[in-house]
């Protein structure tokens, strides 16, 4: 069997772990993927440490030398399609035992990274109907839900435009909060019989960090305290951004009422 260089092992295992983390996988799943990949490439006693911002791997090679490598993670989202593909790869590696050609895994990782997402129009429609359904779920009337649908649609278009920029996530949640509250409070200024707080809650559901809060508690229950507490900080900062942003609507409507 040809010898796989330790550099290749480091590169590929960290790539695989980062892929799981960046697409919304659990911390333990990312660690498992790194360890399985390293084992199948012939590393000895591989171990891995993952937090929401870093993936680390460390192992011993055939000559008994120690190697470790890490990668900083900046952007995290949820992409279930890529998660399924990387999970299949990890399972296949676990089943097959040792692999002699590392470029096989490298090609699979590149292909997973380049999988296309749903087109923007589909995402905007889903966002609009997401706000619509959540408004109804929280006891809003049909007119409330229709206003929420419009706000959700506008918000997602703005978020998609900002996606290409390098703004940090706190500023993006600040902006989303202010967009939602300004639009909802402007609807409240008219004499229409609507419930603005239900409209706001429904439209907020697509940006509010509920899933992230549950995932942070899941990490803490699983014993990954570092990952869990940093995810919790992330949740609090996003919620803070949204609520500071939502003060914009209150201030603006107050000013308009003062003028009228």
């Amino acid at each position: 069997m040809t010898q796989i260089s330790s550099d290749d092992i480091q590169q590929i295992t960290v790539d695989a772990g980062a892929l799981v983390l960046e697409n919304g996988g659990e911390t333990y799943r990312s660690e498992d993927t790194v360890v399985h990949t390293a084992q199948s490439l012939g590393a000895k006693t591989p171990s891995s440490f993952v937090t929401p911002t870093v993936v680390m791997v460390s192992f011993r090679d055939d000559e008994g030398k120690h190697h470790s490598y890490f990668r900083r993670i900046y952007r995290r989202g949820i992409n279930l399609r890529k998660l399924v593909m990387i999970n299949n790869l990890s399972r296949a590696l676990e089943r097959r035992g040792r692999i002699s050609d590392p470029s096989l895994i490298e090609h699979r990782i590149v292909r997973i990274n380049n999988t296309p997402d749903y087109p923007d129009a589909v995402v905007v429609t889903a966002a609009a109907f997401n706000s619509f359904f959540f408004t109804l779920l929280f006891g809003g009337s049909f007119p409330d839900a229709l206003f929420s649908l419009g706000i959700g649609c506008i918000l997602r278009i703005i978020l998609l435009l900002l996606d290409k920029s390098t703004l940090n996530s706190f500023f993006i949640s600040l902006l989303s909060g202010s967009v939602i509250s300004i639009l909802a409070d402007c609807i409240g200024l008219t004499a229409l019989p609507v419930n603005t707080s239900v409209i706001m809650t429904g439209a907020l559901m697509q940006v509010v960090p509920g899933i992230a809060l549950v995932n942070s508690i899941r990490d803490i229950i699983a014993g990954d305290f570092m990952a869990g507490s940093s995810r919790l900080m992330d949740v609090l900062m996003t919620a803070l951004g949204l609520s500071v942003g939502s003060a914009a609507g209150v201030l603006l409507t107050g000013a308009i009422r003062g003028i009228l």
């Binding site: 960090p209 949740v235 919620a239 939502s246």
Partner: protein
């Protein structure tokens, strides 16, 4: 609850989970399945809530039922359970609560902030516990089943290549 109310709740939670699954870029078949799970979780929660029990028990039961079905689907369809779990729990997660907590802090209404924050935390812990219990049970079952299969394989097929023993000192030469 009347039958019409149940049907409405089913429809809205189905739509809400389906839209979240599209956001998270799930495949088309997974979108439908996770939306079904989302509506099951919400109906279970509503059933517990309307029977007069504590709210967090309802969240626990809802999340538990979603997680059990997600683990079953994961085994049948060979996918990670997360694919069905994440969109499935979206109707239950306390997104609004954590927002109202921070809004209370910003506005200086601390009692409102505290009650919303405690509510959100209790909900999140209940959901996470429901998921953790369901997935730990699934893991135990999976290990038991896998161990059996492994034994059968070793007995029948001796040519199965096992990965190299990592702690074998002779391989260090």
């Amino acid at each position: 609850m009347t039958l019409v109310q149940i049907f409405e709740a089913w429809l809205w939670s189905f739509g809400a989970s389906a839209c979240f699954a599209v956001f998270f870029n799930a495949e088309k078949r997974d979108i439908v399945l996770s939306a079904v799970l989302g509506s099951i979780g919400w109906i279970v929660y509503l059933a517990f809530k309307s029977s007069g029990g504590a709210e967090s028990i309802g969240y626990f039961a809802g999340a538990f039922s979603v997680a059990v079905f997600a683990e079953i689907l994961a085994i049948v369809l060979h996918r990670p359970a997360t694919v069905y779990l994440i969109p499935g729990i979206t109707p239950l997660v306390p997104g609004g609560g954590i927002f109202f907590m921070m809004r209370g802090v910003v506005r200086g209404e601390f009692s409102e902030a505290l009650s919303a924050g405690y509510g959100a935390l209790a909900t999140a812990v209940a959901i996470a516990l429901g998921i953790a219990i369901a997935s730990s049970t699934a893991r135990i079952v999976a290990i038991a089943v896998k161990g059996k299969q492994h034994k059968i394989m070793e007995e029948t097929d001796m040519s199965v290549q096992l990965p190299e023993d990592v702690d074998n000192p002779s391989s260090l030469q």
